[in-house]
């Protein structure tokens, strides 16, 4: 028997090492797999049983029951040591369950339900394990009120922490907003063309043609929309503006009247532009800029951020040759300054609460301009009712300014 024990001891070590060579600690080995490792002589099943039993006793193997029968996976020697050092089987059970939950952690109520253990006993076990530094309590963003435990040497999974957007279990909106602005500025810069409006704004005969060749820091100067006469002279066309038939003054009036002083303006890029920034470009930019020094953002994270910008109606995807890039929307209306610059330039005393410095104001619609568009009692408003257009305060304010502040409702 002693010889047997020695033999099993050797076989056990050999089998353990063989299993470690054949896969990670997540791989499940069936009986067939273990036999095929050629460690147990002559496929002796009884001997294999004995060896596995010893390994399980020493916590080096973990048994599993799957649909196809029993199977085992190996556990590292250090972990096994932790198990064997535990004082009683209850603590061991608790530790095993927490261990199994992995990086997601486990709720203490779940442990109790699974083990059907007395409350005080379980608390005792957990206290012991925490003192030993084997487990740690953690917070899960999905269930912030549940007390959860995790193996001390594991980092909580992204699902539990909520990914990079969470700081200590809270959604870090300031961080997200800041990052969004940066991403938005990046897309804006890369997907538009900055025109410095030379042609339109310059006086003294510098037409669009002359200015066109000058080169600012990025791209080529491009006039906004020149006035009629300037344009005609610079292009040398023979016809004068007055000769045009009145057929299309409607549409023409719009482009012509724009003679803004030289102010940089953003222009759309021609169709088929190949370098609209993709998500990976943005990720690379964020990485190189070193803005997020203690969090690493994967492309999927950036994708999430860009998607939010898309849902906000600030950027739109554009596919060129199967490459999905992004560009900002409503380019001519965009402010060429960066978000941060706009924030610095903004004068809070001038009124108007600006919630976001990204993008443009929504295009005005008539409905919203009327007091009714934002009226809180719109549904009740009717002639003859307590609230009616004839005694409407909002209309009075709107038409008369703030001067009238009479008594409002007189029923």
């Amino acid at each position: 028997m002693a010889a047997d024990r020695g033999k099993i001891q050797i076989l056990k070590d050999a089998l353990y090492e063989a299993a470690r060579d054949h896969g990670s600690d997540q791989r499940l080995f069936t009986q067939r797999d273990l036999l095929d490792m050629q460690v147990i002589p002559q496929d002796n099943l009884a001997l294999l049983m004995q060896v596995i039993q010893v390994l399980c006793d020493e916590k080096l193997f973990v048994g599993n029951t799957t649909a196809s029968g029993l199977s085992w996976r190996w556990r590292s020697r250090e972990d096994a040591k932790k198990y064997t050092s535990l004082p009683n089987p209850e603590t061991m059970l608790v530790y095993a369950i927490i261990d199994e939950a992995g990086a997601d952690g486990i709720w203490n109520r779940t442990i109790k339900n699974k083990l059907n253990m007395a409350d005080s006993l379980m608390k005792h076990c957990i206290k012991y394990l925490e003192q030993k530094g084997y487990i740690a309590s953690m917070k899960n963003v999905e269930h912030p009120n549940k007390k959860m435990y995790i193996k001390a040497n594991l980092r909580p999974s992204d699902r539990a922490t909520g990914g990079p957007w969470f700081t200590e279990g809270e959604l870090d909106t300031a961080f997200i907003n800041e990052l969004q602005e940066i991403v938005f500025d990046f897309i804006k810069q890369k997907s538009t063309y900055t025109s410095h409006g030379g042609a339109a704004g310059t006086t003294g005969g510098q037409g669009g043609g002359a200015q066109r060749e000058k080169v600012p820091k990025k791209g080529v100067v491009q006039g906004t929309i020149p006035s009629h006469s300037e344009d005609v002279s610079s292009k040398g066309t023979k016809r004068s503006a007055g000769e045009i038939s009145n057929d299309d003054t409607a549409a023409a009036a719009a482009p012509v009247k724009k003679t803004r002083p030289s102010k940089p303006q953003l222009l759309p890029l021609p169709a088929g532009y190949k370098s609209y920034p993709t998500v990976s470009d943005i990720a690379k930019f964020i990485h190189h800029a070193g803005i997020t020094n203690n969090t690493t953002l994967s492309e999927a994270d950036i994708q999430q951020l860009v998607d939010v910008l898309y849902y906000d109606g600030l950027v739109e995807p554009v596919k060129v040759n199967g490459r999905k890039g992004y560009r900002v929307t409503r380019i001519p209306k965009q402010d060429p300054r960066t978000c941060n610059q706009r924030r610095l330039d903004h004068d809070p005393t001038k009124g108007g609460i600006i919630t976001s410095f990204m993008g443009v104001e929504p295009s005005a619609s008539g409905l919203m301009e009327a007091p009714c568009g934002r009226c809180p009692v719109f549904d009740m408003c009717e002639e003859g009712g307590p609230v009616s257009p004839s005694n409407c305060v909002y209309f009075r304010q709107w038409l008369d300014g703030d001067e009238v502040k009479e008594q409002v409702i007189s029923i």
Partner: protein, 625 residues
């Protein structure tokens, strides 16, 4: 046809505002009770038959009524033509549009038609003739300044009328104009039955044939109002007439003997064709939209393109009954070539503007010039649009890897100068690449517009901007997520929107109250315990549109009501201003205080009317374009 309450109310108020209380009361009765004979109208409205007749007369003159003769009693029965009544609010916009495209003379004619309602051509000519004679009569203007007439001669009037008729902005009144669509349909049905199927019809084949015949018949009725246009076309194009008109103008002296075009039968009665006007208004709106998204030069190009494509578009939305059964070739959407557009672009427009200059190296020609010969299938807007994008291009994907840097480094390289057609193409290509699909590049150098999906997109954009204004950008984010992904639970919504749970719940509640978002309860088991149920958020875009439409009408009603209240308040001042010795010289004749009140009222009136116009912009987009 059912009309929503707000619209009925608005139309009645509008009639009140424009034509006075009597017609408005008749109109209100008709809205409430449906089809009525004069006897019944007077019974319900408590007006004397004589008053009712006067009211009906005014309404009829402006084409605001339909009537039919009841076969049994032989009495005429009247019902409302609410589309026309509503269109009255667009008068200002239509005049502006005509002014822009046909000059002040065209506007003047249109304005008169608006004021007079349907008019016999001879009457219109006579009215103008009287004015012209008066203006030419030197004795009449000894002391006063001679008024500057927009239309100086009969010939000019003739040419303006011809142009407007050719553009279909004016059409002819015929016997069926005063029949409601339903009535006409019934009649055509009957005629077809009698003529083609005297023995009744059997089987599906006959049914299809029947439907085709009915559609044909209806189309014939519709075409009847275009008789003048056809006649004009037979008598030679507009160019010939225009030459004549210009010749007269330069001569200065109006030639009295120059008569009307023989095709313009003086007995014909003409009116404004709102359907076509709305098409023109739609084009204007689209140009605005392009200005907003891509810039003004591109917007101008788009305007030219639209002008050519919609030349023969009689209405924005094809009639489901009449236009679906048309043969395929008739159905085909028109397209124009680059050169056709180039011919219309003014030489003063610099087409190099409005699009960024980058070296051609960083542009993929194949992607830019990609043709999409087929119109997109109907799809639900926002539902994963980019997924269905055809990825068939094997593409030069690799070469785009030089990326970003190229732009920076080669930015200084001189950009090759493009020819003018090429510049124009750049704008058109950019339009074709745009997200809402302004233009479809349907063939080599051929361009077309698919209005249906485009307008759907535009509607969604309008809704978005309204949501953004009511619930902020976060509200917009949430609705757009729901629209793209369908129904979602709160957890999923939270992770997609990157919003805090509290903020999210508050925002969703806000939008639920505003009617932009809705919840659905999905019970887990038979007990339907609300604690265990799953709650899903979703957006019903169609419902949002219809509630928005109702809200628009209601707001317009409120504006008119407020205006009326103001008018009552300043009654004394207004009656003073109406006096003949005060009229026109209000500032001198009235006391300062009264004048201030009068001026304030005028300002308010302008503001409220402008507001109504602006709401109509939204409304037109949602239901008419």
């Amino acid at each position: 046809m059912a009309v929503i309450k707000e619209k009925a109310e608005f139309c009645t108020l509008l009639v009140d505002e424009l034509y006075g209380q009597l017609p408005a009361r008749v109109y209100a009765t008709l809205f409430q009770r449906g089809k009525l004979s004069t006897r019944l109208i007077s019974q319900f409205s408590k007006l004397s038959p004589r008053q009712v007749k006067n009211g009906l007369c005014v309404l009829q003159q402006h084409n605001l009524l339909f009537y039919s003769i009841d076969a049994n009693s032989g009495e005429a029965e009247y019902s409302v033509n609410h589309e026309y009544a509503y269109n009255l609010v667009r008068a200002g916009k239509i005049l502006e549009m005509v002014d822009n495209s046909y000059g002040p003379a065209g506007r003047d004619v249109m304005q008169n038609l608006l004021l007079l309602g349907q008019t016999r051509i001879s009457d219109l000519v006579a009215a103008y003739q009287a004015k012209i004679n008066l203006a030419n009569d030197e004795n009449a203007w000894l002391n006063d300044k001679k008024p500057d007439l927009v239309i100086k001669s009969k010939a000019q009037l003739n040419s303006v009328l011809c142009r407007l008729i050719e553009a279909e902005l004016i059409d002819v009144v015929h016997s069926k104009t005063f029949k409601s669509v339903h009535e006409i349909e019934k009649q055509v049905h009957k005629e077809v039955m009698e003529f083609y199927f005297p023995n009744g019809m059997k089987g599906t084949k006959a049914k299809i044939e029947f439907e085709q015949k009915v559609a044909e018949g209806l189309r014939k009725v519709r075409e009847e109002s275009k008789t003048l246009k056809r006649k004009l076309a037979q008598n030679g194009g507009a160019s010939k007439r225009r030459k004549l008109a210009v010749g007269n103008e330069t001569n200065g002296a109006p030639e009295e003997e120059e008569d009307l075009d023989p095709a313009l039968d003086p007995r014909q009665v003409i009116r404004i064709n709102y359907e076509k006007c709305i098409v023109e208004l739609r084009s204007r709106r689209l140009v605005q939209y392009v200005n907003d998204t891509l810039g003004e030069t591109t917007g101008y190009v788009y305007g030219q393109l639209l002008k050519q494509l919609t030349k023969n578009t009689p209405r924005c939305r094809p009639d489901p009954l009449m236009d679906t059964l048309m043969s395929d070739e008739e159905k085909q959407t028109p397209s124009v070539t680059t050169n056709e557009i180039l011919d219309k672009v003014k030489t003063s427009i610099d087409l190099t503007l409005g699009i960024g200059k980058i070296p051609s190296k960083s542009i993929s020609k194949t992607a830019a010039e990609r043709l999409t010969p087929l119109a997109p299938r109907d799809k639900i807007p926002f539902m994963n649009q980019d997924d269905s994008d055809d990825d068939d291009e094997d593409g030069d994907y690799s070469d785009s890897d030089e990326e970003m840097d190229t732009k920076k480094e080669n930015g200084d390289a001189p950009v090759a100068r493009m020819s003018r057609p090429e510049q124009l193409r750049q704008h058109l290509l950019r339009l074709a690449e745009s997200q809402p699909g302004f233009v479809r590049h349907c063939g080599e150098d051929e361009w077309t517009i698919d209005f249906k999906p485009l307008m759907e997109n535009l509607r969604a954009t309008e809704l978005d901007s309204i949501i953004e204004q009511t619930s902020g950008r976060q509200g917009l984010r949430l609705t757009r997520i729901l629209r793209t992904k369908g129904k979602l639970g709160e957890q999923a919504l939270q992770s997609l929107s990157l919003m805090r749970k509290v903020d999210l719940q508050q925002k969703m509640l806000e939008m639920r109250l505003a009617g932009f978002a809705h919840t659905q309860e999905v019970p887990r088991d038979n007990k339907a315990d609300p604690k265990k149920s799953i709650f899903l958020w979703y957006c019903d875009t169609e419902q949002a549109y219809s509630s928005l439409i109702a809200k628009c009408y209601a707001t317009m009603v409120h504006c008119l009501q407020v205006l009326e209240v103001r008018r009552q308040k300043e009654k004394d001042v207004l009656s003073l201003a109406k006096r003949t010795n005060v009229k026109g010289k209000e500032k001198d004749m009235m006391r300062d205080e009264s004048y201030a009140r009068f001026a304030k009222f005028l300002k308010d009136e302008r503001l409220l009317m402008a507001e109504i116009m602006r709401i109509d912009d939204t409304l037109a987009l949602l239901q008419d374009f």
